[in-house]
Symmetry: C2
Subunit: 215 residues, 2 copies
């Protein structure tokens, strides 16, 4: 089987979710850099051939192009077994947390970081404050959850952990959140994930150059 | 089997996703009103017994309490077969669109409506404008998609359609979007969904009183 090809760039925590899963699973993959900040994913031919949602990551597998990190993780776990939920109840829990991740955990955290660090125009402070409020609600709830169990759905890491871990290793000057101080249980969980064989920081795992935060 | 009990209220499009699925499937269910605006879902005993994410809907089924509309829809379709994806490829597509729904389609649309209509304090206009920009990107992409096929993943409605349909029947004075004018393909799809036996408007299907938009 040829290695998976992951269209990605190092600022995308959504691409990192899949890259980290593959790396920690020991599955062969290679990155294909997307020039996101150069507008590649907004071009209509990229959208037509890669992903009409205009989003990274795209995983090339058996001639197919798979998109949406949560769906890709589910597909990979079903195929390879690594970090797969063990039964129907665990599958439910993993799906529940991946939906929550997309709805409230990753989403606002990623968007706020993008506006703060990479958007061409300075964002409205009211928008940053609004997003921080939403982040705080989702992170407080997740911190409480992770204070009672080591991983998202129980005692061992599953695809749900890779989903929620997408953006948590980016530094505080990008995210505006000091995880260790504000959310100690999330921080402790992020350290547990870090100890998995194959773990790498997104800036070491994915292609593209580092960009200093604009603000 | 006793009927499902759906903890819900009529302003929650996320509850409506599940209620509409059950109603259009001819599956017995009964609503249990949640006094969301009275703060019931923020109380710690409600969170502890119902849903620690503090979210509606909660579906009581066989003594279990299931949460997250997308996970509930997946569980119901696996159990009853109605509106289920037909094979592995369709399951992938349905999951992909339900994640997109949570990430970008329902989420910003629902939050903006909440701030505009039901939040105690008037929201910052910059926040409303920011959310509208995000809504427009997600809706334009979905409109283009639905111009090429009648339902979200193909020729017949599946759980993905019920997920994206959560908030689309709320009136323009709540959402700030004239669907028929701005997104004709989404509007045409919403009319196709309306013609399903069992379809009802959220204000007729779910418990609670109508609240006029505050702004």
């Amino acid at each position: 089987m040829p290695p998976y090809r992951l269209h990605s760039f190092c600022q995308s925590g959504n691409a990192y979710k899949v890259a980290l899963y593959l790396n920690c699973s020991g599955i062969a993959w290679e990155p294909v850099e997307v020039d996101f900040f150069g507008g590649e994913a907004r071009k209509s031919d990229w959208r037509d051939s890669m992903n009409k949602m205009g989003e990274v990551p795209v995983l090339e597998a058996d001639g197919r192009r798979l998109t949406q990190s949560g769906a890709i993780l589910t597909w990979l776990a079903e195929r390879h077994g690594n970090f797969a939920p063990a039964n129907a109840d665990e599958r439910y829990e993993a799906l529940r947390w991946m939906l929550f991740d997309n709805h409230k955990f990753t989403s606002n955290y990623a968007v706020r970081r993008f506006l703060k660090c990479f958007a061409p125009n300075a964002p409205d402070p009211a928008v940053l404050a609004f997003l921080m409020q939403r982040i705080e609600a989702a992170f407080a709830l997740t911190d409480k959850h992770l204070a009672s169990q080591p991983f998202i759905i129980g005692k061992r890491p599953t695809i749900a952990d890779f989903s929620l871990a997408g953006y948590i290793y980016y530094p505080e000057d990008e995210t505006g959140v000091d995880l260790a101080r504000a959310y100690p249980a999330i921080h402790a969980w992020s350290e547990r994930m870090k100890s998995l064989p194959g773990w790498k920081h997104p800036y070491d795992l994915l292609p593209g150059r580092y960009i200093a935060p604009a603000r």
